[in-house]
Amino acid sequence: MSQTNNAFDKAEPIEHESAVSVRNVSKNYGEVEALKDLSLEFPRGQLTSLLGPSGCGKTTLLKIIAGLLEPTSGEIIIEGKKVTGPGPDRSFVFQDFALLPWASVLRNVSFGLELRGVAKSEREAVAERYIKSVGLGGFEHAYPHELSGGMRQRVGLARALSVDAQVLLLDEPFSAVDEQNRRKFQEDMLELVRTENKTFIFVTHSIEEAVYVSDQIAILLPRPSRVSEIIRPTSFRGTGVDNIRRSPEYLDIVDQIWASLRNYVE
């Protein structure tokens, strides 16, 4: 049904506008060049993965896009505006969840809206909706230490979604989550990208994960950090969550990426 429609849509390449543009960004820490003259476009409404070996500057780039770090030179443009710091157009999902351990799931998810001064009843209504949509219905009044790693990250995801930012930044969101939960998350990500109409920027070190969830994969290589390749899978997007890992193109891309990364793994 919708999956076949999707496959048809993706069959012919569509020119997508960028929601986020990274232009000639460099970042130095003293003598060390973390990023050098890096440019990259992130198409609107799609998921782009930043993939690379450790030390390739992928998290640094994500934090620069988030406005948490300032680039030494270059600029980030989001919907035509230059980034000067964190803003309501972006939200962030953290590798270690970054939940308030003294606050319930409900307060954690509504915390972004609380900081924006949204009234309590209104923000809790929004939060409850997103808690249900990430599959945590019934846990509204639980505390983070009572939840498993996978459930905690669902709280982090619901918090990021509830502020309704156009760009979602995810920093290795599933690396602290067990394998089975990670697979479920990856399937849910595909669904989110399809339904939420947001731009997702996804940092990962897992090749399979990147190929599985991404519309576009940017391979970053270190020393000096740069974008070495941009891969856009075409055939298996929208063929359904169960068929992706069996697609020949999926397997080819995984092998191709491994071939270019293997020299950089110590």
Binding site: L68, P86, G87, S91, A98, L115, Y143, P144, V163
Partner: protein
């Protein structure tokens, strides 16, 4: 602890020491140690007297005011120097000096500066308590998870919101630990203040009783003071346990 299969209630060792006190007192070995039973009888007689209640009021007033200022100044200062490298460089050496300095030696200076009244006693109490509160609040803020700070910035927290909704709570286990130790030091501060600056409150009672060799009165007031300090410390330890569930998972 269990003895021969019987589970002893907590603090039952106090009974043993109390018994020893009673025996030593009954032998009449020294006037300095009257029997515990006599001390307890005096205790209940003394508590009702106007002199005791006045002393209690004066001590509580100075103590509560002193601890109040130590907390409302100490916690924000600790959080600020924990967050700002510059302020840390400026203030931390002084905090460490005052933490280990013999503050009693400073009391005469305070008397010159602030007079011989309640004001000096309150300031002495604050000075005894504040340094460890600053140091612990600073340590609490220093260990806040980097990503919690990033989270607050990402979701647009104003500096005030970040302080009251994130940093303060994230540092709460350490802050409460500092307040507990600070309060214990404040008990010392308020009594030393009362003895050295102006003879009021419990300090005056101690002075009166020991100068007149009223040993059972002396011990009675001391027991009251110990019991108050101990209960206060236990209450704060209870608050600390209330937040300890998240101390390990921040």
């Amino acid at each position: 602890m269990t003895v021969y299969g019987y589970k002893l209630p907590v603090m039952s060792s106090l009974l043993l020491w109390g018994l020893l006190w009673e025996i030593v007192g009954q032998t009449g070995w020294t006037f300095f140690i009257p029997p515990l039973s006599e001390v307890l009888v005096t205790l209940f007689n003394v508590i009702g007297t106007a002199a005791f209640q006045k002393a209690m009021y004066e001590t509580a007033y100075a103590f509560i005011a002193g601890v109040f200022f130590a907390i409302v100044i100490g916690v924000p200062v600790g959080i600020l120097i924990g967050k700002s490298r510059l302020l840390d460089e400026l203030i931390l050496p002084w905090v460490n000096i005052f933490l280990s300095a013999p503050l009693t030696a400073l009391v005469p200076v305070l008397m010159v500066l602030f007079g011989f009244g309640m004001k000096s006693i309150i300031i002495t109490t604050t000075l005894f308590a504040i340094w460890i509160i600053i140091l612990n609040s600073r340590a609490g803020v220093k260990q806040i998870n980097r990503s919690l700070v990033d989270m607050a910035r990402c979701f647009g927290a104003s500096p005030l919101d970040a302080f009251f909704k994130v940093y303060l709570w994230a540092a709460m286990p350490e802050i409460l630990g500092g307040i507990r130790i600070g309060v214990i030091r404040a008990v010392k501060g308020v009594i030393i203040g009362q003895l050295l600056i102006s003879i009021v409150g419990f300090g005056a009672l101690f002075e009166l009783y020991s100068n007149n060799f009223m040993m059972s009165h002396f011990w009675a007031v001391l027991i009251v003071l110990f019991a108050l300090a101990f209960s206060l410390s236990e209450f704060l330890a209870y608050l600390e346990r209330r937040v300890s569930y998240y101390a390990a998972s921040r």
